[in-house]
């Protein structure tokens, strides 16, 4: 298997070193900076920064948004992948494109469209104001924008996985007398569990970290409509850098946990199609 290009010792070592250097300087340095700025002077200041009421409110709101957006898109992802992967009908590929669309749209545009529908001058604006319902510049708008940007994550993991697994096992279960729901719970769900977890993980990371879309619909009311990423912006613009980097470190930690779990899941995922089709 030896080729002059792949294994010539010097160029091989040089290229590996170059790749490491590149990722260290370009990707890892910002991460190191976040943790250094947050925890460089001991733990007292960061802990105090996190116990500040506005920071606590931001953490609570971020958790709330993820707790709504992730389950919604999980249910959507399961329904969409069942319909798209297990059946053939016209317009399937259009549907897949539509599901992927939020990934290609600028986060700012994702926020803007909800202002246009639910804002004061929006489609439903007058009706909503008449009934005293506030969606934009309030928590519901933040949830909606977060659901929009995280909509594809579960579905796009499950569709190719379910497609690769086919429908033979489900048909066997049905022939043996299982109901549709039993088949889904006992056959389909276990077969896609790692892919499902992978999708949920990515969905959650994006829901907690989304900035642009949420920024447009939030209204930036301290302690009320600021999520953690928005709170970072507020602190940074007030030149409260230690506090900004402390909240940032918390989100960076989430990113690292996500990456680690993702690496572990990729191992399982690589096994999955082979184990299920035997």
């Amino acid at each position: 298997m030896a080729t002059s290009l792949s294994t010539s010792g010097i160029s091989r070592r040089a290229l590996i070193a170059l790749a490491f250097l590149l990722l260290l300087v370009f990707l890892v340095a910002p991460l190191v900076l976040v943790f250094t700025r947050a925890f460089g002077d001991g733990l007292e200041a960061p802990i105090a920064a996190l116990r500040e009421p506005d920071a606590l409110a931001a953490i609570r709101l971020t958790l709330l948004v993820a707790a709504i957006a992730v389950p919604l898109n999980l249910v959507f992802g399961l329904a969409a992948s069942w319909a798209i992967a297990k059946f053939r009908f016209r317009g399937r590929s259009l549907l897949v494109t539509l599901i992927d669309l939020p990934l290609s749209v600028s986060p700012v545009v994702s926020g803007l469209v909800y202002v246009l529908v639910f804002g004061a001058q929006g489609l439903f604006g007058p009706w909503l104001i008449g009934h005293g319902i506030k969606i934009v510049f309030a928590v519901p708008g933040i949830v909606l924008a977060s659901v929009f940007v995280t909509l594809p994550f579960v579905a796009r993991e499950l569709i190719p996985l379910m497609e690769a697994q086919g429908r033979l096992e489900e048909e066997a279960a049905l022939t043996l007398g299982a109901t549709g729901w039993q088949t889904f719970r006992r056959v389909t769900l276990p077969n896609v569990r790692w892919g499902l977890l992978y999708g949920v993980l990515l969905c959650n990371a994006r829901a907690m970290g989304e900035f642009g879309a949420v920024s447009v619909v939030s209204g930036h009311i301290r302690g009320l409509t600021n999520t953690m990423p928005l709170h970072i912006e507020v602190l940074y613009n007030e030149y409260n850098l230690p506090a900004a980097f402390t909240v940032a470190a918390l989100l960076a930690l989430l990113a690292l946990v996500t990456l680690a779990a993702k690496s572990l899941l990729e191992w399982h995922l690589n096994d999955e199609p082979s184990t299920s089709s035997r």
């Binding site: 080729t3 469209v113 246009l116 549709g180 642009g212 940032a248 990456l259 690496s263």
Partner: protein
Amino acid sequence: MKRVLPGLPGTLGFTLLYLTIMVLLPLTALVIRATGIGFSGFAAQMATPRVLAAFRATFGIAFLSALLDTLLGLLVAWVLVRYRFPGRRLLDALVDLPIALPTAVAGIALTELYAETGWFGAPLAALGIHVAFTPLGIGVALAFVGLPFVVRAVEPVLADLDRDVEEAAATLGATAWQIFRRVILPPLWPALLTGFTLAFGRGIGEYGSVIFIAGNMPGVSEIVPLLIVVKLEQYDTVGACVLGSLMLLASFAIMLTINALQSWSQRRLGN
């Protein structure tokens, strides 16, 4: 195949309803608002120096950053696919860091890193290169968020390449550079272009990681997504809609390009 799986009407109905409420309705509202002002109104919104400069900066810088990402991404993908070395799995996991790291975190970290007092900014400033609060800073941020897209697009194609051809070329006396250019690069083009387009698409829409480092000088370092936010804050909803609908159009064009690239690449692999 006699037994038909149940659940199509229910799941498909729910999928369509959900997509209509969450995606179609809001996007339609944007298109209606933007096209409602007519062509001349649309053109008048566009033909201001500030708007044109923002489009130039956004698309130009995103293009150059995606180009840089294509070069760097090819290098990283090559190392990950072709070599086995200690720390390879770590390197592989790190590639996705820009996708996992929230953009606001990346934004303030890059700004502090490349500011004139920062770890990288100080030595660069001594050389006369100012990164933070200039268009160059936008380029750094966009290259940061775009890199994983190229690596992940190139990796699988590179792994599938038939190495026999490379060996044959080497046996016939080709130099390493000739093998790279004539044997390895041609089948990689669709994947490289896909990665480039994905990085470019991410770049033009990017907001969080850019606004801190950009300096946001109108006409110089102001990007279109920021200008949309500025117009919304000034209650210029129509202006925001015009810019937003053009960005949406760009997203559609990029999705179509990627679909075309993928069918091109599948046809190539099929041969």
